[in-house]
Amino acid sequence: MQNVKMVVTGPFSAGKTQFIHTISEIDVVSTERRLSHPADPDKSQTTVAMDFGRLTIDDDLILYIFGTPGQRRFDFMWRILSQGTLGLVVLLDSVRPDTFREAREILNTFQTYADVPYVVVANKQDLPDAWSPEDLRVALRIPRAIKVLPCVATDRESVKEVLLQLLYTILESMDGDS
């Protein structure tokens, strides 16, 4: 039996838990805690340690999907979580420019330190006034070589497409290596 893993990261409230929940075949094992003073009335919980979802591929291959916690505890967690991962999904909240700064810090860290294929995801595209993937690319200075994909994390087809795009990126990076 072989296990492989992917990691979903991004700023506070970007939709990481939702993304994993939408695709996982098990209930997301997560460590949510109620927010004592939610900035957003719809958001009552935040992830404090990490999320964890699973997808059985076939008789001897399982994909685990981990989600990092938001709330700026990212710096020490991401190293541990990214070690030995197939690839990373960096989720952005397309309607919250107040999280762009944190998103840029995350992206800068990857560009400097991570030899891991990744895609950037403009989540919550269903909301009015969502910034488009192309505007987010410019706003966050995401290099052309990195995909910025539109997504609605509550929609299974949309999440599937993101995972497929990440897998294609991983295949391309293998071509580059050989």
Binding site: V4, P97, A114, D135, A139
Partner: protein, 276 residues
């Protein structure tokens, strides 16, 4: 689809760069702490800028720019049947009070003066409405936004943003793709040109500061403007050719390695997810 935000999170400079790079057209309304501004764009160029609800007639603009006396301005306005700029311009040309280039330069100076004021605002909110453009009968002059950003950054108050963007001076800078042709079209000050000519793999930012005889904060400010205008960025470790091997080893050691699975594993994942 409007773009909304707060200047604290996404600065006016960043917004101008987005409009420039994405070649957007529309109206940017900024609500500052005690005054507002309206900026109009076409295809990524700034066309008009008004602060505090002002809506100056061409004669007022030229008078403020020192290109027209008060008496000339009054005489022209008395002849005009409306306050539309086109008629005023025609009357000015006919009276020989201003040339076509006086008018363009005067309007351009007025636009720049207004947009530069916005750079001083660090608090407030903005809304960009794409494709909405209305400036009545005002004469507009297209202004290159990279020029505005580089010059405007000199007026930024917040030294914090420079330090945040460029915490470490011992880094190299790299020109972004297409920067060369954009730079040739820009109007920049001498200090900016010196920094541009020294940037690249040969010098770190600290070395640029020494060679150009600029203080660290001055260099930070200029580099910040060039970075905001998407002309330069900090080079990644692998983009610096002469990094010593020990440097490189140290950087390699700090890097996090992903899992290198077989191609077969990835294609199985793809097949399964497609079927979901």
């Amino acid at each position: 689809m409007a773009l909304r935000g707060n200047l604290r999170d996404f600065s006016a400079t960043q917004m101008l760069n987005l409009i420039s790079v994405a070649r957007k057209s529309g109206t940017l309304d900024i609500e500052g702490v005690d005054t507002q501004a309206r900026l109009l764009f076409n295809q990524g160029k700034l066309l008009y800028a008004a602060v505090g609800g002002q809506d100056y007639r061409l004669t007022e603009v030229l008078q403020r720019a020192g290109k027209l006396t008060e008496a000339q301005s009054r005489a022209i306005e008395a002849q005009a049947s409306s306050s539309g700029d086109r008629e005023l311009a025609w009357l000015l040309l006919r009276a020989g009070y201003a040339s076509r280039s006086d008018i363009i330069r005067g309007v351009r100076a007025h636009i720049l003066r207004n947009v530069f004021r916005v750079f001083e605002w660090s608090a407030g909110t903005f809304v960009f409405e794409p494709n909405r453009l209305s400036f009545g009968d005002r004469i507009t002059v297209p202004v290159d936004l990279a020029t505005v950003i580089v010059a405007g950054s000199r007026r930024l108050r917040e030294a914090d943003s420079f330090r945040e963007e460029l915490p470490n001076l011992d880094v190299h800078l790299r020109f972004t793709r297409g920067a060369g042709s954009r730079l040739r079209k820009m109007r920049m000050g001498l200090d900016e040109w010196r920094v541009v000519s020294l940037a690249g793999p040969r010098n770190t930012v600290r070395e640029i500061s020494n060679q150009a005889d600029l203080s660290e904060d001055q260099v930070r400010r200029i580099v910040y403007g060039l970075m905001q205008a998407d002309l330069l960025h900090v080079a990644l470790p692998e983009e610096v050719p002469e990094a010593t091997s020990s440097d490189r080893r140290r950087k390699e050691g700090a890097r996090v390695r992903g899992q290198r699975p077989s191609r077969n594993v990835i294609t199985r994942l793809i097949d399964r997810i497609r079927q979901l």
